[in-house]
């Protein structure tokens, strides 16, 4: 088969959200689903593309998108036309009609099921994810953002550059409390143990409380209710990777919606300024850039024109952990081969 001349601009292809395949002449289309949500018409279109241009199989990606492999490079234009319905239905920003996705650097914005489905969620994760996607996409900078409804962090936000974790401030009406202590029990067993009984009523350690609102879920009398306000914990610069995989660290807690949104949007100016122009494929985890510029400079950029809500608390300095494989690859303790172990 010689359908194509194979003279393909791979840089352009990748920016157009196609992956380079190990099979020469083939590519894979990456379908963006902000907030991990897809309507049935779009899903049907994914099926149709996979059947017509692919091999009848679809990969579900780690970041809640779809990837249709086995597409001939010659069919890219046709696939882009077919993607138009999905792009429109998903409300993803576009530059050229029928031109497919205009960028791939800023990854699909991930969200757990959120308050539409999950009993524990403290806000509408999908809606917020989609709102952020609208605000930041398309962009070539390699930025990973995830939204999760509560501190269970089912969306694994701590492996992202920006992780947004939902919080509610528990409101206590002591007149409705019968001292059954179920909130205390569940907070201790399933959360952080921020509640205790004093004189038959409950005291909440506001500093210890992570705002998961389990107490609200388990209260049988509505003594505990959620704050009308939705709050967020913002965690920064987690990542996987070869050199220094690490969990994102706390940056803000009890932040409001606007503060979170502004901080995320501000990161692009910082990247425009400080991304290593010589970086391979113009791609660097933000954390490595922060290592060069210092956290203060990063802070200056992401807090530009941000007036955090009064309740919002901000971490002045952040220290990240994780294994430094560039400094050593040893297993930490008593390395041995299983087959040679002593009795």
């Amino acid at each position: 088969m010689n359908k194509t001349s194979l003279d393909t601009n791979l840089k352009k292809l990748k920016k157009n959200a196609f992956r380079v395949s190990k099979v020469r002449g083939e590519t894979a289309s990456r379908v963006r689903c902000p907030g991990g949500e897809i309507d049935v018409d779009s899903l049907q279109r994914v099926v149709d593309i996979a059947r017509k241009y692919g091999k009848g199989m679809v990969n579900i990606t780690n970041r809640q998108g779809f990837e249709i492999p086995g597409i001939d490079l010659a069919d890219v234009e046709e696939v882009n036309k077919a993607l138009q319905l999905i792009i429109e239905n998903r409300g993803v920003n576009q530059e050229d009609y029928n031109g497919g996705y205009p960028a791939s650097g800023t990854r699909n914005v991930v969200a757990c099921p959120g308050k539409q489905l999950c009993p524990f969620a403290n806000y509408d994760t999908k809606k917020f994810a989609q709102e952020i996607d609208k605000a930041i996409f398309p962009n070539d900078h390699h930025v990973k953002i995830a939204f999760t409804g509560c501190s269970n962090d089912c969306a694994h936000t701590r492996l992202n550059d920006f992780g947004i974790i939902g919080m509610s401030e528990p409101q206590y009406n002591k007149d409705r409390c019968v001292g059954c202590e179920q909130c205390v029990k569940y907070c201790k067993k399933r959360s952080v143990g921020a509640l205790k009984v004093v004189n038959g009523k409950i005291e909440r350690d506001a500093n210890k409380c992570v705002g998961c609102a389990l107490c609200v879920n388990y209260c049988p009398t509505r003594a505990w209710t959620r704050s009308k306000e939705e709050y967020f914990r913002v965690v920064l610069l987690g990542r996987t990777g070869k050199k220094n995989p690490r969990m994102a660290e706390d940056f803000m807690r009890w932040a409001d919606h606007d503060t979170v949104k502004k901080v995320i949007c501000n990161v692009y100016a910082y990247l425009d300024e400080y991304l290593d122009k010589a970086a391979v494929e113009s791609k660097e985890h933000i954390g490595y850039i922060v290592d060069r510029t210092g956290f203060e400079e990063f802070l200056k950029y992401i807090m530009k024109d941000v007036t955090p809500n009064p309740k919002c608390e901000i971490q002045g300095r952040i220290y990240w952990g994780g294994k430094r494989y560039d400094q050593g690859n040893e297993l930490r303790q008593s390395m041995f081969r299983f087959s040679e172990r002593e009795e």
Binding site: K115, P119, A121, N122, Y123, S168, K174, D175, R176, C177, V178, G179, C180, Q182, V198, N199, G200, A213, V216, N217, Y218, C219, P220, T221, R222, A223, T225, R226, K228, E230
Partner: protein, 339 residues
């Protein structure tokens, strides 16, 4: 005497009544449900009829006005015991037929069980009158018709909100002036009652001792999480626990209060020394269910449960009390057939 009002006119009735009474009604509390952006309907004071939730059944019952979830009984100073004050202003409580029937059960327990009456209940009860919210439809999971609590004529006045108009049947002569002065049209008004239900419940007549140890309860040991919601929302549950406390900032002063108790929740039967009477949730379910549809009747001649269905709706584990009664009834028949 019947009246038909526009909403604004009926608010004038409420305004007139408020010179003497406070109005306690089911109110939709936005965002105060278990989950984010879910609501709860519970009782609170209102001034305008629009503030009352008249369409859906309240999640928590009216009983909080007569037996508050947490009620201070006594204040203690170093050398004095003082009965806690209460708000003695008269109250009109808007409630459905099933709940008006439930009041009889509360009265029975607090003023008709044993030689002594419950002083704290009586003083709250004395200031309360009841107004009927008519029922245009059966509530979800309800079985009031089968429990005989679907109809009542024990109300000061009734309210039926139909197509933006308020229909009232007024029985209380003292309140009549407030109704006559508001400008509504006089008419023959009959409150609406539910007479048919989708879900039918059949109660057992006699429950023998064998049924107490029957394996049918084991299912609930596995399913129930003993949260006690069924008790807290029940308009006929009356149990309470007395707690004494001293104020942490001043150990010499303190109070004695009582809080609603649940026979499903841990601690209900614990005695000093460590003995627990009902450990499994199945035993607790049996204790509760038989009280509602058998033990209470054996003692007082009528069933405790009024079939409002709140316990079914609130159960986080989808345990149906109503279906349990049917299962019990079937089991009673099965066991007696085998004897």
């Amino acid at each position: 005497m019947g009246f038909v009002y526009k909403t604004e006119e009926f608010n004038k009735v409420l305004e007139a009544l408020e010179s003497k009474y406070r109005i306690f009604a089911p109110v939709l509390k936005v965002g105060e449900g278990r989950f984010r952006d879910t609501d709860v309907i519970r009782y609170d004071y209102i001034s305008r009829i629009e503030d009352a939730e008249l369409e859906e059944r309240s999640d928590f019952s009216f009983k909080e006005i007569l037996m508050p979830l947490s009620e201070t009984m006594f204040y203690f100073t170093e050398d004095e015991i003082k009965e806690a004050d209460y708000d003695a202003r008269p109250v009109i409580v808007l409630m459905r037929s099933c709940d008006i029937h439930a009041v009889k059960r509360l009265d029975q327990m607090y003023t008709g069980n044993g030689p002594a009456n419950d002083w704290f209940y009586e003083r709250l009860r004395d200031r309360v009158k009841f107004a009927l919210i008519g029922c245009g439809k059966a509530c979800p999971n309800s079985f009031c018709v089968d429990m005989g609590s679907n109809k009542t004529d024990e109300y000061a006045f009734s309210i039926d909100m139909i197509d933006g108009k308020v229909y009232c049947d007024v029985k209380d002569k003292e309140m009549l002036a407030a109704f006559e002065g508001a400008g509504g049209a006089k008419d023959n008004v009959e409150p609406r009652f539910v007479t048919e239900a989708e879900f039918r419940v059949e109660r057992p007549e006699e429950v023998t001792v064998e049924l107490f140890k029957d394996p049918m309860w084991d299912e609930y040991t596995k399913r129930c999480v003993n949260c006690g919601r069924c008790n807290f929302v029940c308009p006929t549950c009356t149990c309470f626990t007395i707690q004494d406390i001293f104020y942490t900032d001043n150990g010499r002063v303190g109070e004695r209060r009582r809080v609603n108790a649940s026979c499903m929740v841990d601690g209900y039967t614990d005695v000093a020394g460590g003995l627990v009477m009902r450990k499994t949730n199945g035993e607790r379910m049996r204790f509760k269910v038989l009280h509602k549809v058998y033990d209470f009747r054996k003692r007082f001649g009528y069933d405790m449960c009024v079939g409002c269905g709140r316990c079914d709706t609130v159960c986080p584990e989808y345990i149906s009390f109503a279906n349990c009664i049917n299962k019990l009834n079937a089991r009673v028949k099965e066991v007696s057939a085998n004897v």
